[in-house]
């Protein structure tokens, strides 16, 4: 059972998030400021920290940096400012993800799952210094924290939220055949809209954006017998 530490100065939000995460099978601790945050981290094992930016005293950015200095527990930041600068600052401080208020609780749950999945997979590799997670394949660069895909000539390719999630799943399971059910399962929750859409449509859209020149074989190959395989080798960093 993953242990979530919610850090927010709003009593209501703390209790609502606690209720929500407990309902979805998570263990929850709470903290109201930097002091209680580090106190909580000292006494128990925490799998993920949900950290509000606007806190009395030391703000969330600063706390995030201090957490990073001592621990590699993943952090998702919550902010009331829908600002690109804020987002970038948060990610530079070492946050793993970033959500703007008012957020959808399910979206937060999905992000928590995604971050936990990612960090448990790569946890061994990332010790000590925190590097921003970037996956590279065939000239493409997938910046997980910024949720950005860039081509070899550094052109930003706009992806919808579900396209990004699907591509991330593919990149994390490169050169392995994934069935539609597996893909649905892996992307489920990471975007609640995926339920309604067939994986095939999403794959079609991704292919259109990734396969600029029809000469080369597709990055995502259809495997006979119902499934897809992400063909290029994926490198971290």
């Amino acid at each position: 059972m993953p242990h979530v530490l919610v850090v927010d100065d709003e009593e209501d939000i703390r209790s609502l998030l606690t209720g929500f995460f407990r309902k979805h099978g998570h263990e929850v601790s709470i903290a109201t400021d930097g002091h209680s945050l580090f106190a909580a981290l000292d006494v128990q094992h925490v799998d993920i920290v949900i950290l509000d930016v606007m806190l009395p005293g030391e703000d969330g950015f600063s706390l995030c940096r201090r957490i990073r200095a001592t621990s590699k527990v993943p952090v998702i930041m919550l902010t009331a400012v829908a600002d690109h600068v804020d987002r970038v600052v948060g990610l530079e401080m070492g946050a793993d993800d970033y959500l703007v208020k008012p957020f959808d609780a399910r979206e937060l749950l999905a992000r928590v799952k995604a971050v936990l999945r990612r960090t448990t997979q790569t946890g061994a590799a990332v010790v000590g210094t925190h590097t921003r997670p970037v996956l590279s394949f065939g000239g493409w660069r997938l910046d997980i924290a910024r949720r950005e895909l860039r081509s070899a000539d550094n052109t930003l390719i706009i992806l919808s939220s579900s396209e990004f999630d699907l591509l991330l799943v593919f990149a994390e399971h490169a050169q392995r055949v994934l069935t539609r059910d597996q893909l649905l399962d892996l992307t489920r929750g990471s975007s609640h809209e995926v339920y309604d859409r067939s994986i095939d449509v999403q794959v079609g859209r991704l292919r259109r954006k990734l396969d600029a020149d029809a000469e080369t074989p597709s990055v995502i190959r259809t495997v006979r017998g119902g499934g897809y395989m992400f063909t290029p080798a994926v490198r971290r960093g």
């Binding site: 709003e10 209501d12 939000i13 609502l16 998030l17 209720g19 929500f20 309902k23 009331a80 400012v81 829908a82 600002d83 690109h84 600068v85 208020k101 008012p102 957020f103 959808d104 609780a105 399910r106 081509s151 000539d153 550094n154 052109t155 930003l156 390719i157 706009i158 992806l159 919808s160 396209e163 809209e193 309604d196 859409r197 859209r205 259109r208 954006k209 600029a212």
Partner: protein, 449 residues
């Protein structure tokens, strides 16, 4: 403390200087002209006296004539008499008469008949036998008049006292004065208006942007004062806008916390339908707060520019709306790199698509490009916009009559902020009612490599 010897740089001083310069210029030209053309009055007097001399010599006996002629000394002009059978007289007798338009018919009449006369200069071979000091005067002018006994009186002028005829002289004088005044006024207005024009250009450059820096204070004193006053006003406006923006940002920020709570509480609503509706309401509220905030704060200025795939952006928008069951289509290239602010442009395009769906039932996106620009056309199938409102719809909070009764009216900031974003990219947006019905929105963006 040093004493300022330089006169103050004011418009008044500049005008005084230019007027002074113009007057001096006109005077100078007049003097120069008079030097060249010679005064008419003096010419008349000279001719009158030459006329007298001719009559006198004509009336005198041949013996007295050379002496009489030599006695004549009109200013720098001298006279010589040449007998009828002399070489000079013979040459003069066959010489060409003076120009027909030399208006000398008033002079040299003896017994009512005009005497033949010849004008020539020292260049002319006619001057060969005439006595005058060639060493001292390299150039001389001659007027020869034939007497009744076919002898000739020659007047020798060592400087040119006669010139143009009176009407022509006046015309040239007026022309010179007119030209010099014209030149002076053109120069004066150019130098006077140059700083004012620069000021106007600066104002145009900063446009309606209260966040632009102050205008540099240059030019004459009065203009510097005007620029200073403008800068002060601009600073005030900026302060005002900033205060309001801070207030709005605070409101929008404070709104997020209760909205977050509503969303979280919504998770505990068992009825899926009601929960979905609640979330939609929260989204609407948030969208309104965001649009107001982004309008007042011009968020797009904070976003970094990057090269991104514009075709992919439009495709993503099309797919997203399509997934929500909205009739949005895309036609155009598969990929088109563009340097700009992707989030801001995405929001701008979504505003336009929202409008098309709201008022025109569907949105057809078309992307075209040339070497220098890209054009995005968003067409709908609605009633269009009455021609008189085509510009009004860009005004903030403006809404067409028909939208009042709709629950999905929005705040009337969609087009305003879309245009702000597009113009910030150096592009523009145009609305056009299609002949086949519906509205076509054309967004033009320059391609900068």
């Amino acid at each position: 403390m040093s004493i300022r010897l330089r006169p103050p740089d004011t418009i008044a001083w500049r005008i005084a200087l230019t007027v002074g310069a113009a007057i001096i210029g006109v005077l100078g030209l007049t003097v120069l002209f008079n030097q060249l053309a010679g005064p008419t009055a003096r010419e008349t007097a000279l001719l009158d006296r030459a006329d007298d001399t001719v009559r006198m010599i004509d009336a005198a006996s041949a013996i007295d004539r050379p002496r009489l002629a030599r006695a004549v000394q009109i200013e720098s002009n001298r006279a010589e008499w040449y007998a009828a059978n002399s070489t000079v007289a013979r040459r003069l007798a066959v010489a060409q008469p003076p120009d027909a338009d030399s208006d000398l018919s008033r002079w040299f009449l003896i017994e009512g008949r005009q005497r033949p006369r010849v004008f020539f200069s020292s260049d002319d071979p006619l001057s060969a036998g005439i006595r005058f000091d060639r060493g001292q005067h390299s150039r001389a002018y001659f007027l020869a008049v034939e007497l009744r006994d076919e002898s000739w009186v020659v007047f020798i002028a060592t400087q040119r006292d006669w010139g143009l005829l009176q009407p022509r002289q006046i015309a040239v004088a007026l022309g010179c004065v007119g030209l010099s005044i014209l030149a002076a006024s053109v120069l004066a207005t150019y130098f006077l208006s140059k700083p004012i024009r620069r000021f106007a250009d600066e104002l145009r450059r900063i446009g309606g942007d209260p966040r632009a820096g102050p205008v540099r204070e240059t030019g004459p004193g009065e203009l510097r004062a005007a620029i200073a006053a403008f800068n002060a006003l601009q600073a005030q406006v900026r302060k005002f806008v900033e205060d309001r923006t801070v207030m709005l940002a605070a409101m929008s920020h404070d709104l997020r916390t209760p909205l977050t709570k509503i969303r979280l509480r919504g998770e505990f609503i068992e009825d899926d339908e009601q929960r979905a509706r609640l979330f939609r309401d929260v989204d609407d509220l948030q969208a309104m707060a965001d649009s107001a905030l982004s309008f007042f704060r011009d968020d797009y200025k904070d976003e970094e520019t990057t090269v991104f795939d514009f075709a992919g952006l439009l495709r993503t928008i099309t797919d997203d709306y399509g997934d929500q069951g909205q009739p949005v289509s895309y036609a155009g290239p598969d990929r088109l790199a563009f340097n700009g602010r992707p989030f801001s442009l995405r929001r701008a395009c979504m505003n336009l698509v929202d409008n098309a769906l709201k008022y025109g039932n569907r949105a057809e996106l078309q992307l075209n490009h040339s070497a220098t620009e890209i054009v995005v056309e968003i067409s709908d199938r609605g009633a269009g916009i009455p021609p008189h409102a085509l510009e009004q719809v860009f005004a903030p909070f403006f809404r067409l009559e028909q939208s009042r009764n709709r629950s999905t009216g929005g705040m009337g900031l969609g087009l305003t902020s879309a245009r702000a974003v597009i113009r910030a990219h150096g592009g523009d947006i145009a609305l056009r009612n299609r002949e086949c019905g519906g509205l076509q929105v054309s967004v033009t963006l320059p391609l900068i490599s």
